[in-house]
Symmetry: C2
Subunit: 221 residues, 2 copies
């Protein structure tokens, strides 16, 4: 009985996720779902991405949190449309939350929508939102064992962004051990090593986004 209820919730979510993707496609918008632990750098990555893509792509953002609009405020301060979702305690975004937020996003004015999920390495992996890509941001200070300990998150994403690489000299982080864990779960995953503090590696990530937006636009035409 319990299982069937869970299945129904997930299939309802999948249906709404498909509606979200159809809506994004109709407006020629590429959507990316950014997931990570609290403090791994989701908002900082969005800030850096906005700066790197200035004059090149028009961005919008949706920021999910259990409380406050601190993240959306930071993103909006960069001059792009940003909508805050407060989940009211829920530890992840779902497709219905994004659906409601999308009605406040000027989809005709943007090319790329960055969706910042709630800070959590577990539950967000279970709920499709209808974005075209999903990414996990790993943070060097979290330690090199995270792929082993949080496999569903690392298995289900399209992109891995390793953030805070400027802290490598000050921490014991075995990049080989980390990468072996990722490789077992998600062989050949697109990976970027970045520092949202120094800006290192951000352009490679931004260039990849531009390529994906162009490919998406061509496919929609």
């Amino acid at each position: 009985m319990k299982v069937s209820v869970v299945e129904r919730i997930l299939s309802a979510n999948d249906r709404l996720a498909l509606e979200n993707q159809t809506l994004l496609d109709a407006h020629g918008v590429l959507g990316v779902n950014l997931m990570a632990s609290p403090g791994a750098g989701k908002t900082s990555l969005i800030e850096q991405t906005i700066d790197a893509l200035q004059g090149c792509l028009c961005l919008g953002a949706v920021d999910g949190d259990i409380a406050t609009s601190l993240d959306a405020d930071r993103v909006a301060a960069r001059g792009i449309p940003a909508v805050q979702i407060n989940t009211g305690g829920s530890c992840h975004l779902d497709a219905n939350m994004l659906k409601r937020a999308l009605s406040d996003v000027p989809l005709d004015e943007i090319d790329l929508l960055l969706v910042e999920n709630v800070g959590n390495l577990i539950c967000p992996a279970n709920f499709k939102l209808g974005t075209h890509f999903s990414a996990v941001i790993a943070s060097i200070p979290e330690g090199d064992d995270k792929p082993y300990k949080y496999p569903p998150m690392y298995t289900g994403v399209d992109v891995l962004i390793i953030n805070k690489i400027d802290l490598l000299p000050y921490l014991e982080f075995d990049l080989d051990y980390f990468s072996r864990g990722v490789e077992i779960l998600n062989s050949g995953i697109v990976t970027f090593e970045v520092s949202c503090k120094t800006g290192e590696g951000i352009h490679a990530w931004a260039d990849w986004l531009v390529e994906q937006v162009e490919a998406h636009t061509q496919a929609s035409e």
Copy 2:
């Protein structure tokens, strides 16, 4: 209808939590629930605490994770009884999981049980386990806005441990801003600033644990 189901689950959990506390009391064991984001240093704090209390208190540990026994292996390598709970995907421990784990802990041989919750700043705050104290470990690299963004976790705990203070010189972390956020939610909370890497501050935390175990023993007699 939805609310009443949730209420029933929580009240069933509270009943089991009370049973756990009664069991711990019967064996003169003090229980502490350690909660934090992934990679904030829960296992490292347990390792440091074991070392600091060697010859002074007998410890046991229960380690919760969605996958692997990496944490319990690290703790057991220090020579104390350690039981791993794999939650099978669930993002928090609950009282029933701890109840089952307690049957594998030699309660007559220990004074202090450290329970490492699943790495998550959200849901573990909603589920009492039956421990006498709960603590949140904040990690400097997570950023100084976490009390504002994850208020239920900071509101509900008895102890705050600020870890990775050795990284303060390399990061922008406004300790005053962080502390003001904590003060709003949980005025006067017992706080320790530590580095599980250098050992700084660990003895103050260990001394506090000894005091609590002694007070608990006297209250039980």
